[in-house]
């Protein structure tokens, strides 16, 4: 295929009148398209705004009010009662602490490990490197269900069921796949001459990595942190499988699911807990949004 296909034009451009007319038609066509595009955007925004606004507004209404008028009613007094209630009575604070206790170490370990592997593969080019990369990146395609069966038995033997350890260990290891892929691609773009120059100046390989390469990698690390944090924070499959017996080791997502089961009609309570559970990832996204897209693309595009 070629990038541009030449289509020589043979339009009637003789008369100035004709040209003006064509120009006018083109202008109208552009305006029409822009209006169609605008309409599409407005519909799209509404499709996304309504559900999000629905949760937030439900969280601000009393359960009695919702029972009387329904979830989507536009009227009603707004109150923070649900938040105060959820914060003080349910295990909400415990759930949040548990989620952070899983997410922070798992994000750190997965990125650290992925960076080390990616760097070694890119700069040391060890024998068998291609195979190592293939095995680690294939981890992206292993469905979690494949791992669940053996891991359940393994953690039961190690007596780690109903602790936070299974989630920390699994998310750390599973995260190596994407982190290695992204960091390897990143370090491949940094010229080897930089490393050799520092080595000749007497730095050790460790120094080069720590003082020269890592500071350069900050944007890629930020992208991975966003990606990994969101993924780990939002996960509930592993907590569901490994900690379902004890409420005090539940993460916030599992807590949310449990609350849904307990108070089938307490919509206001559910909604406020859902908002609380979503705040950390939404904040992380707003802060790092540029990095996120770059992170996703750098992992997959430059191979």
């Amino acid at each position: 295929m070629s990038t541009s296909t030449a289509h020589p034009v043979a339009r009637g451009q003789g008369a100035a009148e004709g040209a003006a007319e064509a120009h006018e038609a083109a202008r109208r066509g552009r305006a029409l398209r822009r209006r169609a595009g605008m309409a599409l955007i407005v519909v799209f925004v509404a499709l996304y705004l309504v559900p999000v606004a629905g949760v937030v507004s439900t969280s601000l209404k009393t359960n009695a009010e919702i029972a009387e008028r329904g979830i989507w009613a536009l009227t009603g007094k707004l109150t923070l009662a649900n938040y105060i209630d959820v914060w003080s009575t349910a295990n909400t604070v415990r759930y949040l602490i548990n989620s952070f206790q899983v997410a922070i170490p798992a994000v750190a370990v997965s990125i650290a490990g992925g960076t080390l592997i990616g760097y070694a593969l890119s700069k040391f080019r060890p024998r068998g490197g291609t195979l190592i990369q293939l095995v680690i990146v294939s981890g992206l395609f292993v469905p979690p269900q494949v791992l669940l069966v053996p891991l359940f038995t393994m953690f039961r033997t190690l007596d780690l069921l109903n602790t936070l350890w299974p989630m920390i260990l699994i998310h750390s290891a599973v995260g190596f796949s994407i982190c290695t892929l992204v960091m390897r691609n990143f370090f491949d773009q940094i010229p080897d001459s930089l490393r050799y120059a520092a080595l000749i100046d007497g730095a050790s390989e460790g120094d080069v990595f720590w003082r020269v390469m890592l500071p350069l990698a900050r944007p890629a690390l930020a992208a991975l942190a966003t990606l990994q944090f969101t993924f780990i924070w939002n996960d509930f499959l592993y907590p569901l499988v490994f900690t379902s017996a004890r409420d005090d080791v539940a993460t916030i997502m599992l807590g949310l699911l449990n609350v849904k089961g307990q108070f089938t009609v307490a919509y206001g309570t559910q909604a406020s807990l859902a908002v609380i559970a979503s705040i950390p990832t939404v904040v992380v996204f707003f802060v790092f949004q540029k990095h996120f897209v770059r992170g996703l693309l750098s992992g997959a595009l430059k191979e």
């Binding site: 541009s4 999000v52 060890p126 669940l148 979503s278 595009l301």
Partner: protein, 291 residues
């Protein structure tokens, strides 16, 4: 030993050991389990050869979940990317909105599928659900439906909630892809007399191919391992109409306690993932300009 070999070992050794313990070894164990009749409750297990795989391909529930997962992946690869690209193109032409929109749309993709599921349950629910209320207001009461409880609508209803989130993912990636297309290239095609459709077909589509491969791969993986949303919304019901393969594995494992069969079904899912990703990678390389 080359000095870099020692550094390689030092750098890669610990993370690779962890990866081997949590991912590689369990995958191998799952493969072994799939040839046994191991149960989560019992202590002993017998080697039964391919029986689990024979069972998987003949059991109507497994076959149905394979069908659901394949249909889901197919529609997932068509609808969210197409909508995402359309909106991304509209946004690119209306730059005034682009910045605000981009920030706002990070909300749907940063929230968990548990939360997405909860909102959509409220949208679908009979009585005061949003859709039924809107239908009522429009005087179309006869079309009101218990969307998630009805056997013929449940799957589409859950899919729509999922597509709602995936469309944004596709849109954000396509926006990045569109901004990377040099404007001169489009201009040049226009000057050469190409119409809008031709510019789209002959310039944008080929240039967006790498991004499309990424979008399709991500969405395919998300489709194939779709457990969260189904669990949050229907747990596979009504009458197993929304039982995707991951949901079925969960059920076989924790309701029927059959480790062997659960491993076999999950490995079939793994194989399906590899085939889909392999196909997409091949498709992406085939039409690539680079290299």
């Amino acid at each position: 030993m080359r000095p870099t070999t020692r550094w390689s070992l030092l750098f890669m050794g610990p993370p690779i050991a962890l990866f081997a313990a949590i991912v590689v070894l369990p995958t191998a164990m799952a493969l072994r389990l799939s040839f046994t009749d191991a149960s989560l409750l019992g202590q002993t297990s017998e080697w039964i050869g391919f029986d689990n795989f024979v069972e998987a391909f003949t059991n109507e529930h497994v076959r149905k979940s394979i069908r659901i997962t394949l249909v889901w992946t197919l529609f997932g690869a068509l609808i969210p990317p197409a909508l995402g690209l359309a909106v991304a193109m509209a946004l690119q032409a209306n730059t005034r909105f682009a910045a605000v929109m981009k920030s706002a749309l990070f909300v749907p993709i940063s929230i968990s599928l548990v939360v997405v599921g909860q909102v959509w349950i409220w949208i679908y629910q009979p009585g005061d659900g949003l859709i039924n209320q809107l239908l009522g207001m429009a005087g179309l009461d006869s079309l009101e439906e218990a969307w998630l409880a009805n056997r013929s609508t449940a799957l589409y209803a859950v899919f729509a909630a999922w597509a709602w989130q995936q469309t944004v993912l596709a849109m954000i990636l396509y926006l990045a892809g569109l901004t990377s297309i040099p404007g001169e290239l489009v201009e040049a095609a226009r000057v050469d007399g190409a119409g809008h459709f031709q510019v789209f077909r002959r310039v944008m589509v080929p240039l967006l191919r790498p991004i499309t491969t990424v979008v399709l791969s991500l969405i395919a993986i998300n489709s194939l391992r779709n457990f969260d949303l189904v669990f949050a919304m229907t747990q596979g019901g009504p009458v197993r109409e929304t039982e995707t393969m991951p949901m079925l594995v969960w059920r076989i494992l924790f309701r029927q306690h059959e480790q062997g069969l659960a491993s076999a079904v999950s490995l079939i899912l793994f194989a399906m993932t590899l085939v889909v990703i392999g196909g997409l990678t091949w498709w992406g390389r085939r039409g690539s300009y680079v290299d």
